[in-house]
Symmetry: C2
Subunit: 299 residues, 2 copies
């Protein structure tokens, strides 16, 4: 009698995760709205990797205890850091890149060959890439950046790297703009940076990195009804797609660059960093983190 023919069929299985899958995560609070899980996982799989990026929700009061332990998960290789943890995460890693040190936060961290966690800030990269892809020249031009908070600091550092003729940084909290300029002046000693709001007639490129206009289609960081038509205007805000600032810019005949245009470049940069962190370790783009981190996170 052949009993073995009665064996049940094997259980079904999916093809995108198994015991050898390498883990990546995005930490934030709240977490439901993030887009990295579906987009970065797509990019990881497009590169033929058995890897997945997951939403990881950590509550603010538990972050300092939970985050360092998550970094000890043996098959976790990288983390995208989002609001409100970009500054805090910096204090839990071993080495930070130059943009992280300038901006005082990290947007991506990765595990290095020697099992250290290395981080960098890419919030500015997507903005600059979107501008350059749309033909906006930054080098030698007069650029105005609105907002000197977390995103603003990161974008300011990337803008400074493009050697604009003049970089104006305006923030209602004037000390924040002065602090960012003070820090960037050391890294870019030949640059001409100014805190404050110049006449818009003198400006070629306007970038909004302030939160004014986010989730509010009737708020604008500039109290104007029209803008000079020579301006290229970018808004780093992604929701709503068209902010009041961009609507005024389009009505004024300006070139407009949308916040969501930053996404592609940021996803590619995050993947490159998390995956290429091992060779990068040999280069001097990653600096050893000193005790100075505590001061950096004050930006």
């Amino acid at each position: 009698m052949n009993f073995t023919a009665l064996r049940p069929p094997r259980a079904g299985s999916v093809d995108f995760v198994n015991g050898r899958t390498r883990l990546y995560g995005i930490v934030g609070h709240p977490i439901e709205q993030v887009r990295s899980p579906e987009t970065v996982t797509f990019e990881l799989q497009r590169r033929d990797l058995n890897a997945i990026l997951l939403p990881i929700h950590i509550k603010p009061e538990e972050f300092s205890k939970v985050f360092p332990r998550i970094l000890q998960i043996g098959n976790l290789d990288g983390i995208v850091v989002t609001v409100p943890y970009k500054g805090q995460a910096l204090s839990h890693i071993h080495r930070a890149g130059p943009m992280a040190q300038l901006s005082g936060g990290v947007s991506v961290i990765g595990r290095s060959l020697d099992d250290r966690w290395v981080g960098e800030m890419f919030d500015g990269v997507g903005c600059i890439a979107a501008l350059l892809r749309r033909g906006v020249v930054l080098t030698g031009r007069r650029v105005l950046l609105l907002g000197a908070g977390g995103a603003g600091s990161a974008i300011a550092a990337e803008l400074a790297r493009c050697a604009p003729g003049d970089l104006f940084i305006h923030d209602p909290e004037t000390q924040r703009a002065a602090d960012v300029i003070g820090k960037l002046s050391k890294a870019f000693p030949n640059s001409r940076m100014h805190a404050g709001l110049p006449s818009l007639e003198e400006i070629d490129v306007l970038v909004n990195a302030s939160p004014v206009g986010m989730l509010d289609a009737n708020a604008s960081p500039l109290d104007v009804a029209r803008l000079p038509s020579q301006l290229a205007v970018m808004d780093a805000i992604m929701d709503p797609d068209q902010t009041k600032l961009l609507r005024i810019a389009e009505e004024s005949g300006c070139q407009t660059i949308y916040g969501r245009e930053m996404l592609d470049s940021q996803i590619a940069a995050a993947c490159d960093f998390m995956l290429d962190i091992r060779p990068r370790m040999a280069e001097d783009v990653v600096f050893q983190v000193q005790q100075s981190f505590q001061s950096l996170t004050q930006v």
Copy 2:
């Protein structure tokens, strides 16, 4: 001039993970060989849930620090526990089910409505389900279980629940068999349980829960060349598929039940437990964990 037509296409995305995905995990060391990620995720998705089960590798020297912090991830709802953490995990949860208390370990834990972690041991369920599905009667029969370790304890508890006529438990470490019987006798006071190896002629059902034969097709927990043909023989070992014990059993004309037949029932039981833990909380199948856990984990 319409610049907006130049916007790049949206980044690609996958459809099996996003910011609202609920996380499940399997913790173990090593982790590469586990099958729960692909099979349990299939089962979760078959139930129309936005959920995924991931491999989570924790090193033994870090388990006691990392595991409790992983339980604080806000969107993590359940964990399958595998070797070597079934006993240790029991000491990190708030409540344990009866089989967990009897066996001294958990195979699955889930987050309850009141944000407590509740665990149960299902290693025995798959074994009993496989036997019953193949028509093997346990109630009133004479059953011999080989092995009183972690898996053996769990299977012993489930076998005892089926009210066999006699349950023999044999382990080369004789005290382990005596300890399991001592504990089960309190839970099943009317059962007839015996430590030691009876004559196989007196036995109806033989279950191997010892590791002898695992990854070694030439090792058998019984030093015999033939078995009485009336025996139904189950081997809980999954690799190799056909152990030496099962080969001898088939050559002897016995009914044979394979280790992998346990999988389907265990997957369904794990999902049921992790997903239904909230209603279960109201039932008395889940006991409040007392300080007695420390003694239970000695089994």
